[in-house]
């Protein structure tokens, strides 16, 4: 990293730290308000009920315009990298579901204006199961799945 970039980075992190301290002291009202974290969806014990809670329906249309990049075999179920790419037009959200997890919905990404159909993160998987990507576009739910084998489960216990 060049010196200039390092200085900007450091300046940025000091500023972020100051904001954090100010927020902690209650001086700033957090502009980030948790509108409504979908508790029911994240606690749902089945894929269908999670989708019902999150999207109001579990009717999925299989699509070949969604691709999931995830390992065929995940050695560590605590950290399974999953990327979902889709070129379906006008995507509103992309969700990642680990079918056999105790609570299958792991993450949902609401895409704003200009956002591309691509999300990537790492999830915990309790055991070998299908990773299902659900893309909401034009009011419909499209999906595809990929089997990921897990050798050591990642949910603890």
């Amino acid at each position: 990293m060049t010196n200039m970039k390092r200085r900007t980075f450091l300046k940025g992190s000091v500023a972020a730290g100051a904001v954090g301290a100010a927020m902690g002291a209650g001086l700033l009202t957090p502009r980030i308000v948790l509108a409504a974290w979908p508790t029911a969806a994240f606690e749902a014990k089945s894929v269908d009920s999670a989708l019902d809670a999150l999207e109001g329906s579990h009717a999925l249309v299989g699509s070949d315009k969604i691709s999931i990049r995830a390992p065929d075999i995940a050695e560590n179920g605590a950290v399974v990298p999953v990327s979902v790419t889709s070129d379906i037009p006008d995507i509103e959200s992309m969700s990642i579901i680990a079918e056999k997890n105790a609570a299958p919905l792991t993450a949902s990404f609401n895409l704003g204006k200009g956002a591309e159909g691509f999300v990537s993160t790492r999830i915990k998987m309790g055991k070998t199961s299908s990773v299902i990507a659900v893309v909401k576009a034009g009011g419909k739910l499209y999906s595809t799945g990929k089997e990921v084998k897990v050798t050591i489960g990642g949910c603890g216990g």
Partner: protein
């Protein structure tokens, strides 16, 4: 609290954002090995990214997102030098945010 490392790179009109957040992402199902008690759930619930004051992406996470979560997404419409802000809030009400520039 500098919990977020972030890079935003512009290429062919698309900005790719990669972020790494330091957070325990406890599921609430793990037991403390010494006391045998359950470690309470402590995980990021929402991550938002703003570009020029407009929300580009909101991620809703459950406890099944891995510890020290990685996140990447892409969007169009930014220029080099534009400011991006990434923020997270967890189930305990703790939060952090950082700003970076598109490069």
């Amino acid at each position: 609290m500098a919990s977020i490392k972030i890079r935003a790179k512009l290429s062919d009109g698309v900005t790719t954002v990669k972020a790494l957040i330091q957070h325990p992402m406890e599921t609430g199902q793990r037991k403390d090995k010494k006391t045998g008690k359950l470690i309470p759930a402590h995980f990021i619930q929402e991550v938002t990214c703003e570009h020029s004051g407009t929300n580009v992406m909101t991620a809703l996470w459950g406890p099944a997102v891995s510890k020290n979560p990685y996140l990447s997404f892409k969007f169009k419409g930014a220029k080099v030098g534009d400011s991006l802000k990434l923020s997270w809030v967890d189930n305990k009400g703790e939060s952090d945010s950082t700003e970076t520039q598109v490069s």
